[in-house]
């Protein structure tokens, strides 16, 4: 009787044990092929002196690519550029996204229409957006220069994309413009999960706007912030299309992030092995960042 009862209980459990892995398996196989294999192949390639047009003639050189990387000023320049670009884009995108999310979280006329309009930049393909901005930022014909000169902000047109000081600023602005709707949507969703009662209780205690934001909104967005900031940082670290189409890493490597350096090294200079080492370094940097970041923001971390 007892054994029969155990058997009867365990039978359905055994059936469900196999179901999840079976369902995940196809996606797992596809992911392994599309993600794991290229990553592992790339890491392996970083120990060879392979060149693009001599792909079969690559020789194993141990850590030589990594030693060269450490001594390469262009690599360290790209590390700096990547950090500056990533930080600036994340701060700008988050700030604009939060401001608009707070605005659109209020009751107001045409709120739905406004939300739709604000999402538009995110719906435009990267390349199309970049081509439009390249024209707008053109040193000779650009509408941005025209507007700024007409408004008296600039005395003469400036070369936004070929001046090393301005190119990064232009790039951050464009990336921020492309990404803020995503940040806004995620933050808006986060804001709508904060119970109204918390605001009402705080207001009945006499809390003002700043106190409400600091003690109710900000803690309420904590989980959303953790994911959003990680997403924004990772996106900016691996972004290629926008940067390549706008500046290709120039002028004078002022916008050459690690992703762009990897691309240029592999396909312009044809040093596939060395490019793989740069890509692996980028992977390690992102892994380290993600681990440290998740450790900092995990629930109960401040305890």
């Amino acid at each position: 009787m007892g054994r029969a009862a155990i058997t009867a209980r365990s039978r359905p459990q055994r059936a469900t044990d196999w179901l999840p892995p079976a369902l995940i398996a196809p996606a797992g196989v596809i992911l392994s092929v599309l993600l794991a294999y290229p990553i592992l192949r790339g890491i392996a390639l970083s120990f060879f002196n392979t060149r693009l047009l001599r792909f079969d003639q690559g020789r194993y050189i141990g850590l030589a690519n990594y030693n060269a990387l450490i001594a390469d000023p262009n690599f360290w320049n790209s590390v700096t550029v990547t950090i500056v670009y990533g930080a600036a884009v994340t701060i700008c995108t988050y700030a604009v996204g939060l401001a608009l999310a707070l605005l659109l979280n209020r009751r107001m006329p045409a709120r739905g229409l406004l939300r739709t309009i604000i999402i538009m930049p995110w719906a435009i393909p990267d390349v199309v957006a970049v081509l439009i901005f390249v024209w707008m930022l053109d040193a000779q014909y650009g509408v941005i220069n025209y507007g700024l000169v007409e408004a008296g902000v600039l005395r003469a047109p400036v070369a936004w994309l070929s001046d090393a000081d301005l190119a990064m600023l232009a790039l951050v602005m464009v990336t921020c413009w492309q990404q803020f709707p995503l940040a806004m949507l995620i933050l808006l969703a986060g804001l709508q999960t904060i119970p109204r009662e918390l605001y009402e209780a705080a207001m009945s205690d006499g809390a003002g706007h700043w106190a409400l934001f600091r003690h109710v909104t900000w803690p309420g967005l904590r989980a959303v912030n953790a994911v959003l900031v990680l997403m924004l940082v990772l996106n900016s670290f691996r972004r290629v299309t926008t940067i390549y189409a706008m500046t290709a890493g120039g002028p004078a490597r002022a916008t050459e992030t690690l992703s762009i350096l990897t691309y240029n090294t592999a396909f312009q200079y044809q040093q596939l092995g060395y490019a793989a080492a740069i890509g692996t370094a980028l992977l390690l940097i992102l892994l380290a960042f993600s681990l440290v970041y998740m450790r900092i923001v995990r629930p109960g971390a401040e305890a």
């Binding site: 693009l52 792909f55 400036v158 290709a248 120039g250 002028p251 596939l272």
Partner: protein
């Protein structure tokens, strides 16, 4: 009951397999001939190429030409990656700067035998020498032209100056144009994000003053007095507001074709652009000698090549013969204003209306192909070399470094890099 239909199906399957096997020998000569190019949709040039494609297919029944369009901006990277991945074209047009790395990597086949049997062997341009390594020919010119001085004679006349013949005259002319007409005296690509064009433009000046960035024995000469003098000239135009800042090659050409620039150093393709976008301006444009002391002109273009791994080299050879036929080459020149890859004697009528073509041919005859595209001694590693030079030119053009200090840094950076090669 079920045995009969099974047998019938099996019989049908057997017949199908037999038919398929019989069909194999019949279709063995039919295949797809892979011919990627950046030119397939280039207006009249694309139409010309499609006509040749149709002629080739008509002459070779069973061969289907796969005309893949790859944009010129990404042509080199795409082709290199395809070849590395084993997806090899049968006929491959390459830009001048692509030739040396492809030959060095063994990716191209020599085709001297093909040339010897073809009709173009007696009409080859001397620029074929750039595609010759160790006595073997790896490419024949597709189009080859010097980049010399283009002038808008109407703008110069408005400013009361003649076509300049020296650097001092050119500076005075550019200044007069700016002051008297408000248009640009001289424009050049200085959007340093575009490495190749920034480098080539600097070469117009550097070789024009008799120098280069390196010598054939791989000695770096970035801080040689003549190189310094050349870059000082370029910088002067930016500093004095006589040249627009931040433009790439396309923007500069558009500006010139719209009549807003008096002097430009570029190739004859600008004439084609003027003819199509602003035909009334064409009569005012001239293509003439560089005003630099040596008058040397950066010379380049493109070549037809046959990849080493192509299984259809004979057909590629036939295609090269077809596109270099005497009649179609004349059409290429006189109909499209494209500079032919073979010697073509223009008709007197054509020369009467396009005198600049004669001047250009004279200039082209004086300078070797590939001059200016790749630094001597570093043709294979040219992309990195050009990048280093352009990185430092960016510092100089923006005023962050003086010409002397910037080129001193260039010298050190190039020497450091060259030592690792």
């Amino acid at each position: 009951m079920t045995a009969r239909p099974n047998r019938a199906w099996r019989g049908l399957l057997g017949l199908t397999i037999a038919a398929a096997l019989l069909a194999v020998p019949l279709s063995a000569s039919a295949y797809t001939f892979k011919y990627p190019s950046w030119m397939w949709e280039e207006g009249d040039v694309g139409v010309w190429h499609k006509k040749r494609l149709a002629e080739f297919e008509a002459a070779h029944p069973g061969i289907k030409v796969q005309a893949t369009l790859i944009p010129s901006s990404s042509f080199e990277q795409t082709i290199n990656t395809q070849i590395a991945a084993g997806d090899v074209p049968d006929l491959l047009p390459v830009f001048t700067n692509m030739l040396a790395p492809l030959i060095d990597a063994g990716a191209l086949a020599p085709f001297d035998d093909c040339i010897a049997k073809s009709s173009l062997k007696d009409r080859m341009l001397s620029s074929v020498s750039y595609a010759r390594v160790n006595g073997k020919t790896y490419g024949v010119p597709l189009t080859m032209s010097p980049q010399s001085m283009l002038v808008n004679k109407a703008l110069l006349a408005q400013a009361g100056v003649d076509v300049p013949k020296t650097l001092d005259e050119m500076y005075a002319a550019a200044k007069a144009v700016k002051e008297k007409t408000g248009q640009w005296g001289y424009a050049f690509p200085n959007n340093v994000s575009s490495v190749l064009f920034t480098y080539i433009q600097s070469m117009q000046w550097v070789i024009g003053l008799g120098s280069d960035w390196a010598t054939p024995d791989r000695k770096i000469t970035a801080d040689a007095p003549k190189t310094v003098e050349a870059i000082r000239w370029v910088k002067r135009y930016l500093d004095d507001g006589l040249s627009p800042r931040g433009l790439d090659a396309n923007a500069v050409r558009t500006l010139f074709a719209s009549g807003k620039v008096a002097i430009l150093f570029d190739g004859p393709w600008v004439m084609t652009q003027v003819q199509s976008s602003n035909p009334t301006l064409l009569k005012d444009i001239d293509f003439t000698l560089m005003p630099t002391p040596t008058h040397a002109a950066v010379t380049g273009g493109a070549y037809y090549t046959i990849p080493a791994a192509s299984p259809h080299k004979d057909d590629a050879c036939a295609y090269i013969d077809l596109v270099n036929g005497e009649k179609v080459q004349r059409e290429w020149l006189e109909g499209l204003l494209q500079i032919p890859g073979t010697t073509v004697q223009p008709s007197p009528d054509f020369l009467k209306t396009h005198a600049w073509v004669g001047t250009m041919a004279e200039i082209a005859a004086k300078y070797p192909s590939g001059l200016g595209y790749a630094p001597p001694g570093f043709a294979v590693q040219a992309p990195e070399f050009r990048q280093i030079v352009t990185d430092h030119l960016a510092q100089i053009y923006s005023g962050r470094a003086t010409v002397e200090a910037g080129l001193g840094d260039t010298q050190k950076a190039l020497e450091r890099w060259a030592a690792q090669q």
